[in-house]
């Protein structure tokens, strides 16, 4: 457990932050101490609200000297408890809100940690550019948060995770020093890439205060289609065809089981069944291209071949943006649509793309044996091998009884994932939720190396001490 923070340290923090720069008001703190799915609630003696990088450095400096722990928080959209303090100082980046620079020749935007992803999208659009990181939570998720968790989302297949989209970082390291690595460079081979270490470090190696992010051209053509498919195995073959037909133009290739589609139709207003008949699985594919008409042509070839080969039972192509949005609405609400259905064991796993179908088969057989009657919603980014595999209590079952078996059930799922060379956290991170699981599955060689790196950069372990390992 975290030690109590001495009163003189709080006084020093108040002094360096000044009026408006901190809070101990329970009402101000409350929304920052509650995880949005209500899974974690936190406590903190002090909320730091730095306005500048120098403020952040001052806070971390005071805490480093005194050995006082800090939990950094962005938009509080994390799903693994990493941003919820348990007695630590809470450092919110919400006031680090400037977009410092937009440079179109460099195709770079420099945004501070507290800028939301949606604001980055708007700023990019204003100069006819695009920042290709899309999250359901983009109106709330912040730059500091997506960088610190290496966020994924729906466009990883084409553009990679956040890691691939960052050209430079500014961060306050655990000793309170400011590292200015805010470059606009596409190439820089001058030793270890420190930013790569901070990306996905979940705040354990310092506080990211700003990032240089890559911008891309606005695309001239886009095609979105939903296809009913007989099986994940068929979807796998379709994915290979899509990549071949569309070259680099496959923007998203998402898989959903019918159970999840049913939840969306039942619980999310405005959704409607995308195809006339009911299909066991659905593929939502999006192609895009810089060439007018090119994405549409590739989509037509793809669907025609898929229908001819019997890999697709039926399909619909969005004819308007509104229709495309309606198709995406079903996909993006796969998780929210589960909320009214009761207790669930959620898994954010990845396996090699070639093993997605095997994974779904094996995991579902194991879950139905372990928890008969469970309702299984498997969906996700098939193109990346990333499946959100959620096991809900039986219809009319008991929430508490289901929740009580979560760890045991998840262990079975994770064992299957690891037997396939997969990952127990594809895009959400480890946070405080999966530290024990990570310790179980990571090799001692790797754990030893990762801990040595952490100790080297944060010898007093003040940065988010409860998370990772």
């Amino acid at each position: 457990m975290t030690k109590a923070v001495p009163a003189d340290i709080l006084s020093r923090l108040k002094a360096v932050l000044g009026d408006g720069g901190w809070s101990q008001d329970p009402e101000r703190l409350a929304p920052k101490l509650l995880e949005w799915r209500d899974r974690w609630t936190g406590t903190t003696p002090f909320l730091a609200l730095p306005k500048t990088t120098a403020d952040v450095a001052a806070v971390v400096g005071v805490c480093f000297e005194a050995g006082v722990a800090i939990t950094p928080q962005g938009g509080n959209t994390g799903l693994v408890g990493g941003q919820i303090p348990q007695g630590e100082i809470l450092l919110s980046t919400e006031r680090l809100g400037a977009i410092r620079e937009v440079e179109t020749f460099d195709d770079v935007i420099v945004a501070e940690a507290g800028v939301t992803l949606a604001r980055v999208h708007e700023a990019a659009a204003a100069v006819r550019r695009r920042f290709p990181l899309g999250l359901a939570s983009e109106g709330t998720a912040t730059v500091g948060g997506v960088v610190s968790t290496n966020a994924g989302g729906t466009q990883v297949l084409r553009y990679g995770s956040t890691r691939s989209l960052v050209l430079g970082l500014e961060a306050v390291l655990p000793n309170g020093e400011v590292w200015n690595g805010l470059k606009h460079l596409r190439k820089d081979n001058t030793g270890y890439d420190l930013k790569q270490l901070l990306i996905g470090a979940e705040g354990t190696l310092g506080v990211v205060t700003a990032a240089s992010l890559k911008l891309y051209p606005v695309l001239a053509s886009r095609a979105v289609a939903m296809a009913g498919v007989p099986s994940p195995q068929a979807a796998l073959h379709l994915l290979e065809q899509a990549k071949a037909e569309a070259g680099g133009a496959v923007e998203a290739f998402e898989l959903m089981g019918r159970q999840g589609v049913d939840f969306a139709l039942k619980n999310i207003p405005g959704t409607r069944d995308p195809l006339e008949e009911v299909h066991p699985w659905y593929v939502l594919a999006e192609f895009s291209s810089g060439e007018p008409g090119s994405a549409e042509a590739a989509m037509e070839r793809f669907l025609t071949h898929g229908l001819e080969a019997g890999l697709i039972a039926d399909a619909v192509v969005a004819q308007t943006d509104a229709q495309a949005k309606a198709l995406w609405l079903i996909r993006e609400n796969q998780s929210p649509a589960q909320k009214p259905e009761g207790a669930t064991w959620k898994h954010d796993v990845s396996v090699p793309v070639s093993r997605v179908a095997d994974f779904l088969d094996q995991a579902t057989a194991a879950m139905l044996a372990f928890a008969p009657g469970s309702r299984i919603a498997g969906f996700g980014h098939m193109g990346d091998g990333n499946i959100h595999y959620d096991v809900l209590r039986p219809d009319g079952g008991d929430d508490a009884a289901h929740a009580a078996r979560r760890d045991e059930g998840s262990r079975i799922v994770h064992d299957i994932v690891m037997s396939m060379g997969g990952s127990i956290s594809a895009e959400h991170g480890l946070g405080s939720m999966k530290t024990a699981e990570a310790a179980r599955y990571k090799s001692p060689v790797e754990l030893h190396a990762l801990k040595a790196i952490r100790a080297a950069l944060d010898p007093k372990r003040i940065m988010n001490p409860r998370v990772l390992f």
Copy 2:
């Protein structure tokens, strides 16, 4: 200086490697001790020729225990001295030559460190895939080498450096332990990404023994053109147009000054002047697409608009693969074509794309003031802001006199680069050549962090101790 290696250590190394697994034969060693531009020659008491990862682990384990230093070497194509031992044990990866796996659903190839880049290309082509890392030295450069130096090349604009193309690594860490991180995963957020630290570490954090590399679809259309342009500033505007016209389809956007084209025409057999008239600068652009005809159409739009806007004076589009090859021949021989011209100061620098033209202006003015009559060949990957900026002695000048002023001249160039937020090594690395320069330009905060990481993973500093920092 490196200490002499005790005889009993050499005996132990011979024992673990067995017959054929080592050499002390000067003739066998000679080609591995000479850098290809003859700039560095090395010495070593012992060449280790491990055949397996276990062999590598045994060698590193013996050396770690005894505190004996090791220099790893791949294809010996490095340009900054990092692979040339100065008294250390030389560990060559040449016998780690297996392609362990090619998986088309995962779009992954797993190759051992000693496999050449050309063999990776062949293996990819055999399954109708593509590994988009192209280097002039690809027939000799190896997987371990390109990973350890985060090699760049001509396709970074579209696909990123080697860092973006690696899905997993296997490596022997400095303590002799084997880290198996050979995943096929596109997404894995379970803590610090150890492979990112090893990529570009120039052998200082361990020996990369194998890599999982990303494969891409073979492309359906390709267009290559050479344009004569009035200035780098015009080229900058053209680059922005190319990105807008071609969406994600700009594969390469290279800039060359006439001086370098002249060297190629004079010294490289088979080259011919690409355009009727002489132009001060040339852009070599390559577009590609998964859609048949798409790249060609985008290229036509791009050239038409460029000519109309006065940004292009004249242009030629390759009509055949042979013509495309002929255009690339001029670009790829920019460096070899300099060799008969005498002493040169070479720089592998990057600046923000928006500053490339400024950099060329400022650097050339400074060089002509500092070394009047110098012949300046500036060329490179304009799309990445990466310029190879080479300053040759005056025609008929004295090689030794020019070489003697190299450090002073390079300092001027590097100071200009750094004043623009650039990098003194865009793609070649620091090696032993640029350690002092790196120490000069990196911030103390960053240097301190990087050294702490190195010490944490290699407490005895046995891995390539002369390089980086």
